[in-house]
């Protein structure tokens, strides 16, 4: 995060929890406990951290998808261009349109074809898509999927392989031209070539849109991100320029995590 960059998204004292159906919020399990951080405009921010540390929850809170889960609750604020997305007058639908989310598990719409999946955001909203064919092709090309699927654009989106579905979902999100794109492990099912293409895409998009990417692939974070944040048990441990995090992190917990030291002490 270069100091000069404007903050596109500012998260302040963000708390998120999950309550079991029918139980009071006081018994809820906490997923985020007071996270505050800034996401610089037109930069790539990587979120890293162990499984269950709250990375997905943080993403979902930013575009108001968290509340969709039954029993889920949010506290604190998320400001997009200075406006609290949890404000009373804000329409969550509008927020989700401006802040796209690529889910951890690929989820193409099963009743739609590959082509219609790319256009889903427009079609299902009843918006006309001028030059739909061109849009489909250019989006599928950007995620390096075109050559693989150009002969089966009319097959169901779910007929693609896991890695292809993942790229289809990125294309679908990208087609809507979001201002902020949240990507939850976008390359988890991709081979090295497709991964390289997606990383190249992130590089292209950098300086055009604000990107937050959750990844378990530390090398990927090191390659693509301007800044990297380490989450641990629902807390933000540190958020620094990527070069700092991967050469000289401040917090020993970050150090232990990224160097692969977990639980074994020298004494034993």
């Amino acid at each position: 995060m270069s100091a000069s960059a404007r903050a596109k998204v500012v998260v302040e004292d963000l708390r998120a929890w999950f309550a079991a159906p029918g139980r009071p919020a006081s018994e809820a399990t906490s997923a985020l406990s007071g996270v505050s951080m800034r996401f610089a405009e037109n930069e790539v921010t990587a979120l890293i951290g162990p499984s269950g540390s709250g990375k997905s929850t943080l993403l979902r809170c930013i575009n108001r998808m968290h509340e969709v889960t039954r029993g889920a609750g949010v506290g604190g604020s998320v400001r997009l261009d200075g406006v609290d997305v949890y404000g009373a007058k804000v329409d969550p639908v509008e927020v989700r349109r401006r802040i796209g989310l690529v889910f951890q598990r690929p989820n193409p719409l099963p009743m739609l074809s590959v082509r219609e999946n790319v256009l889903a955001g427009f079609r299902l909203a009843g918006e006309p898509v001028p030059q739909a064919e061109e849009l489909v092709e250019s989006m599928l090309r950007r995620v390096a999927l075109w050559d693989e699927v150009k002969d089966r654009l009319d097959r169901p989106g779910t007929s693609l392989s896991g890695g292809q579905q993942q790229r289809l979902c990125i294309a679908r999100c990208l087609a809507l031209r979001p201002e902020v794109m949240l990507m939850d492990e976008p390359c988890s099912a991709l081979d090295p070539v497709a991964t390289a293409r997606i990383e190249e895409l992130l590089n292209e998009l950098r300086s055009k849109i604000t990107i937050v990417v959750v990844t378990h692939n530390l090398q990927q974070a090191a390659r693509v991100a301007d800044s990297t944040a380490f989450l641990h048990q629902g807390e933000l441990i540190e958020h620094e320029p990527t070069s700092v995090v991967f050469t000289n992190p401040r917090d020993p917990r970050t150090e232990n995590y990224i160097t692969g030291r977990f639980g074994r002490t020298t004494g034993s």
Partner: protein, 229 residues
């Protein structure tokens, strides 16, 4: 470092690397200190035999390079691990150079043979040898223990070696101007002093890498002034 790597194979590779560097350092130190003993004892034969030690050092350099590259390729180390590997790769070239300088000392000692010496310069060279070897020793010690304070102390000591070198150089120049017959011998002693000064420089480099490894801070340029080199 309070925690071990969860992957014990990785932990093994890193400790093997650490031990190899240590072994290499010990051999370089041994080479230099035995070369200096041969110098004190005017023992040309011993000096010639020491050259074999350098071959072991060279072999270790290759082995450590290989292992370090393997770890880089296999583990993509980050943070302190990355700094450790980077430090190792640099230290190894320093140690290799120390080995070469040790060999150079042996060669000069062999050439000097048992010819009469200048006792005061001789004593000063012996002192300088002990100091340089001690710096090397402490720098390696700091590496093993991750001891930043010790490493910084080594950095400071380099200035004294430089002074010793200047003094020896001056006195040898003086002798050569006194009598042309001493030139042959004096230039050899001068070379010896320069080798020792270079060894101290390499020890300084190693100490700088130790500071980088421990603190992630590059002190190579900020320390220039105190090094006076």
């Amino acid at each position: 470092m309070p925690l071990l790597h969860t992957d014990s194979l990785y932990e093994n590779e890193l400790s093997r690397l650490r031990e190899s560097v240590l072994l290499m350092g010990a051999k370089a130190e041994e080479l230099v200190s035995r070369a200096m003993r041969a110098f004190s004892e005017h023992d040309a034969g011993a000096a010639k035999r020491l050259v074999a030690l350098d071959e072991a050092i060279d072999a270790l350099e290759v082995a450590i390079d290989d292992l370090a590259l393997l770890v880089l390729a296999r583990r993509q180390p980050v943070a302190s691990d990355l700094r450790f590997i980077a430090a190792v790769l640099k230290m190894v070239t320093d140690l290799e150079r120390v080995g070469d300088l040790g060999v150079n000392i042996c060669e000069r000692v062999a050439e000097l043979g048992a010819s009469p010496s200048f006792p005061d310069t001789h004593a000063e060279l012996e002192q300088m040898g002990r100091d340089s070897v001690a710096m090397l020793h402490d720098a390696l010690d700091a590496f093993v223990r991750g001891d930043e304070a010790l490493a910084r102390e080594v950095l400071v000591r380099d200035a004294r070696i430089d002074e010793q070198y200047a003094r020896i150089f001056q006195s040898l120049v003086a002798r050569m101007t006194e009598s042309a017959g001493t030139v042959d011998r004096a230039t050899r002693l001068q070379s010896l002093a320069r080798y020792l000064e270079r060894i101290a420089d390499h020890a300084t480099n190693i100490a700088e890498m130790v500071v980088f490894m421990v603190k992630g801070k590059d002190v190579r340029h900020s320390q220039r002034g105190t090094r006076g080199g």
